[in-house]
C-alpha cells in the first residue's frame, strides 16, 4: 500500500515527541521504530526541518539535527507530547487489557488490570463511553486454542483440572494428543504424567493450561486395564436415552433394568443423585451406600431448615 501525504504527515508529527524522548537515537533505530526505510526517515527529518509555527523564522521552526547518524531535537515547538490515540487504538488497547484480565489468575494482578482498564476507559470517555465496548474471551475456546498450540508444537502443558466426581482441583503435567467431540462435549485425550497413562479431560473442566518448557516425554504404556464393577440400574420408564447418554456400553436385561460397568463408585452415586429417574438395583452394597448418603443429606437439609 502506498502511503499518502496525510499518513506521512502523521508520522512527521509523531517523530518529534519520539525523538525528544530518545535524544541521540540512531537513524537506523528510528527507521525500525517507525517501520520505514532509512532513506524514508532521512527524507522525513529533512522535511521536519522546514516545518514550524506561523512566522517560520528560525525561532519558530522545529530545530532538529543529525550528526554521525544520530538524531537530536533542540526545539520541538508545540509538538513535545505524543498524539492521542485514535478510536481504533483505544479499542485495540481495551480489548488487549480485557483479554489480559481474563488470562491472569492472580487476584491481585487481576485487580490491577481491572483498575487500569477503568482508568484507561475514563481517559477516553468522551471519544467512547466506557461501556460501549464489552470484551469477554470465551473460556472454552481459549483453552482449546492453548491446547491446540501445544499439540502442534509438541509441548507439554501444566493444567489445573477440576475433577467433578472427586470434587477436587488437581495440577497435572500432560502431553496433549487429540481432541474428541462426544455427546458430553469436547474432550481432550492426553498422556497424564502423574498417573502414567492416557486420560480424557473435559475441556470445560480445564481451569487453566500453561505450556511448560519441558520437552515431551515418551510415554510408556504402563496402563493396566482397570477392572471395573458391574452395576444394575433401573430406570423409571422405558426410555433408555438417559442410560445411553451416561455410558457407552449398556446391556439391557429387560424390565427397564440395565447392566453397566463403572470404575468409580463416587461417579455412580453422584450421577444417580443428579439424574432423576435412576435407581441402583444391585450390588446391594452400593445401593445401601446411596440410601445412607441420601438419608444423611436429607437430615442435613432438615436440620438447616429447622
Amino acid at each position: 500500500m502506498s502511503e499518502n501525504a496525510a499518513e506521512r504527515a502523521i508520522r512527521l508529527l509523531d517523530l518529534v515527541p519520539f525523538i525528544l524522548d530518545h535524544q541521540g537515537i540512531s537513524i537506523n533505530q528510528l527507521a525500525k521504530e517507525f517501520n520505514v526505510s532509512k532513506e524514508e526517515i532521512i527524507k522525513d527529518l529533512n522535511l521536519l526541518f522546514v516545518c514550524g509555527l506561523p512566522g517560520y523564522t528560525p525561532l519558530e521552526l522545529i530545530d532538529i539535527s543529525f550528526e554521525d547518524e544520530l538524531v537530536y531535537l533542540r526545539d520541538p515547538q508545540n509538538l513535545s507530547e505524543p498524539r492521542t490515540l485514535t478510536i481504533s487504538e483505544i479499542i485495540v488497547t481495551r480489548i488487549a487489557l480485557s483479554a489480559l484480565h481474563e488470562l491472569v489468575s492472580d487476584p491481585e494482578k487481576r485487580a490491577e488490570i481491572q483498575a487500569l482498564l477503568r482508568k484507561f476507559s475514563a481517559l477516553f470517555e468522551s471519544a467512547l463511553p466506557e461501556n460501549a465496548i464489552h470484551v469477554e474471551i470465551d473460556k472454552e475456546q481459549r483453552t482449546q486454542k492453548i491446547v491446540q498450540h501445544a499439540i502442534e508444537s509438541g509441548r507439554n502443558l501444566s493444567i489445573e483440572y477440576l475433577n467433578l466426581t472427586k470434587d477436587e482441583v488437581s495440577s497435572r503435567e500432560i502431553t496433549p494428543i487429540e481432541f474428541v467431540k462426544s455427546h458430553q462435549g469436547l474432550t481432550l485425550n492426553a498422556y497424564c504424567h502423574r498417573v502414567g497413562a492416557v486420560r480424557s479431560f473435559k475441556v470445560t473442566q480445564i481451569i487453566s493450561a500453561v505450556e511448560s518448557n519441558r520437552s515431551q516425554m515418551l510415554f510408556n504404556s504402563t496402563e493396566q486395564e482397570e477392572s471395573g464393577v458391574e452395576v444394575q440400574l433401573r430406570t423409571s420408564d422405558s426410555d433408555s436415552s438417559l442410560i445411553n447418554r451416561l455410558v457407552k456400553d449398556v446391556k439391557s436385561l429387560g424390565d427397564n433394568v440395565y447392566v453397566i460397568k463403572i470404575y468409580q463408585e463416587e461417579w455412580l452415586i453422584r450421577t444417580v443423585f443428579s439424574q432423576a429417574g435412576l435407581e441402583i438395583a444391585s450390588p446391594f452394597m452400593i445401593r445401601e451406600l446411596l440410601r445412607k448418603e441420601a438419608k444423611s443429606a436429607l437430615k442435613r437439609y432438615q436440620e438447616f431448615s429447622a
Partner: protein, 316 residues
C-alpha cells in the same frame, strides 16, 4: 507535490494547535505556509487537508456560531484533545499495557498495537507474549474494526450488506455505530438502524460487503451511560441468583464463577452464584449432595429435599 502537502499538513496542525482562538480560513491562508493559488484553490486545499487530518484521528474543532466570526467558521485543535495524557500513566501501568498489547502478536493487528505502544510506551517493541496469541481466533478483521472505529470517531453512519441468520440473501443496512461487544468468540456491532428506527445488534461475520462510511460527521451522539451489553439478548438472559452453603475447600464448580464468598462458620462458606436455570441449579445441588446446602431460593431447596426423600424411598 505530495511532499509539499505533507509539509502543509504538519504546518496546519501546528498552527491550529498553537492558536488559542478559532482561526478563520482567511487567517489560515494568510499565516500558514503552503496555501497558494486562487481563493477557490486554497479553499479546496483546506477542505481536503481538514478531512485528511480528521480521517487520521486529529480532532479539528469548528466554531461557526461564534458572534466574533459573523458568518465565517473558525477552526482550532484543542491541545487536550490532540495530546495523549501520558503523565496519567504510571510505570507499573505501562508494564501492564505492554504485556496486554503483546497479546495482539500475529493477529493482523500488530501494526495498530505497535503504533499504540510507540506513543504510549515510547517504543514499538510490543515484545513477545508470554501467553499464546489468543485474540486472533475471535473473528475480528482489521479492516472492519478500522472502518467501524473511524465511523465511531466521527459519529458518522455506515452502510453494509448484512446476511441474517438462516437467510440466503443479504440486505442493505444503514447504521449509526454505538458500540462493540464479543460473545462466545464472535464480535457484534450495536448501533441505531436508520431504516428500522431501533437499536440493533449485528454479528460482524455476517456483514458480507465492504463497510462504507457516510461523509457527514456528528450525525448522532452516544450517550455517556450507553452500555452495549443492554442490547445483546444473549447477555441479558434472566439468571437465577442462588445462595449456597458450601463446605470449605469443596464444590469447586460453584466457586469458579461466583459473585460473593464469605466464611459462614468453621465448616461452611456462604456463596452466591448466578445460574442459567432452576434445573441447572438443582442438578448442581444434587451432584454436590455431600458438600453443599442450597439455601435460596427456598422453593428450590424444598425440591432438593424431595429428591433426597425419593432416593431414600427408592433404595429402601
Amino acid at each position: 507535490m505530495s511532499q509539499a502537502k505533507t509539509e502543509r499538513l504538519v504546518n496546519l496542525t501546528m498552527a491550529l494547535l498553537a492558536s488559542r482562538r478559532y482561526m478563520k480560513k482567511s487567517e489560515i491562508f494568510q499565516k500558514v505556509a503552503g496555501y497558494s493559488g486562487t481563493p477557490e484553490t486554497k479553499e479546496r486545499m483546506f477542505e481536503r487537508d481538514k478531512d485528511d487530518l480528521r480521517n487520521l484521528g486529529i480532532e479539528i474543532e469548528v466554531a461557526s456560531q461564534d458572534p466574533l466570526f459573523e458568518d465565517e467558521a473558525g477552526y482550532r485543535i484543542k491541545p487536550e484533545s490532540y495530546r495523549f495524557p501520558l503523565k496519567e500513566i504510571s510505570e507499573a501501568e505501562k508494564s501492564i499495557l505492554s504485556t496486554a498489547l503483546a497479546l495482539w502478536e500475529s493477529s493482523g493487528f500488530e501494526k495498530v498495537a505497535s503504533e499504540t505502544s510507540r506513543r504510549l510506551l515510547s517504543g514499538n517493541q510490543i515484545g513477545e507474549s508470554t501467553f499464546p496469541s489468543l485474540i486472533a481466533p475471535i473473528e475480528l478483521v482489521e479492516e472492519s474494526l478500522n472502518e467501524i472505529a473511524k465511523a465511531l470517531a466521527s459519529r458518522s453512519s455506515i452502510e453494509f450488506h448484512y446476511q441474517k441468520q438462516d437467510s440466503r440473501n443479504s440486505e442493505n443496512r444503514r447504521v449509526c455505530p454505538m458500540g462493540l461487544s464479543t460473545w462466545h468468540g464472535s464480535w457484534y456491532l450495536v448501533g441505531e438502524d436508520l431504516d428500522r428506527n431501533d437499536i440493533r445488534a449485528f454479528k460482524l461475520s455476517r456483514i458480507v460487503s465492504q463497510i462504507s462510511i457516510n461523509k457527514k460527521r456528528e450525525m448522532y451522539e452516544i450517550p455517556r451511560d450507553f452500555s452495549v451489553t443492554d442490547y445483546l439478548v444473549m447477555l441479558n438472559r434472566e439468571l437465577i441468583e442462588v445462595e449456597w452453603l458450601v463446605r470449605k475447600g469443596r464444590a469447586q464448580l460453584l466457586r469458579s464463577n461466583l459473585k460473593l464468598e464469605q466464611s459462614f462458620d468453621e465448616e461452611w462458606d456462604l456463596i452466591h452464584t448466578k445460574e442459567e436455570s432452576l434445573e441447572a441449579a438443582l442438578e448442581k445441588a444434587l451432584w454436590h449432595y455431600d458438600s453443599v446446602i442450597l439455601v435460596k431460593p427456598i422453593k428450590l431447596r424444598e425440591q432438593v429435599m424431595r429428591r433426597f426423600e425419593k432416593l431414600v424411598d427408592q433404595h429402601e
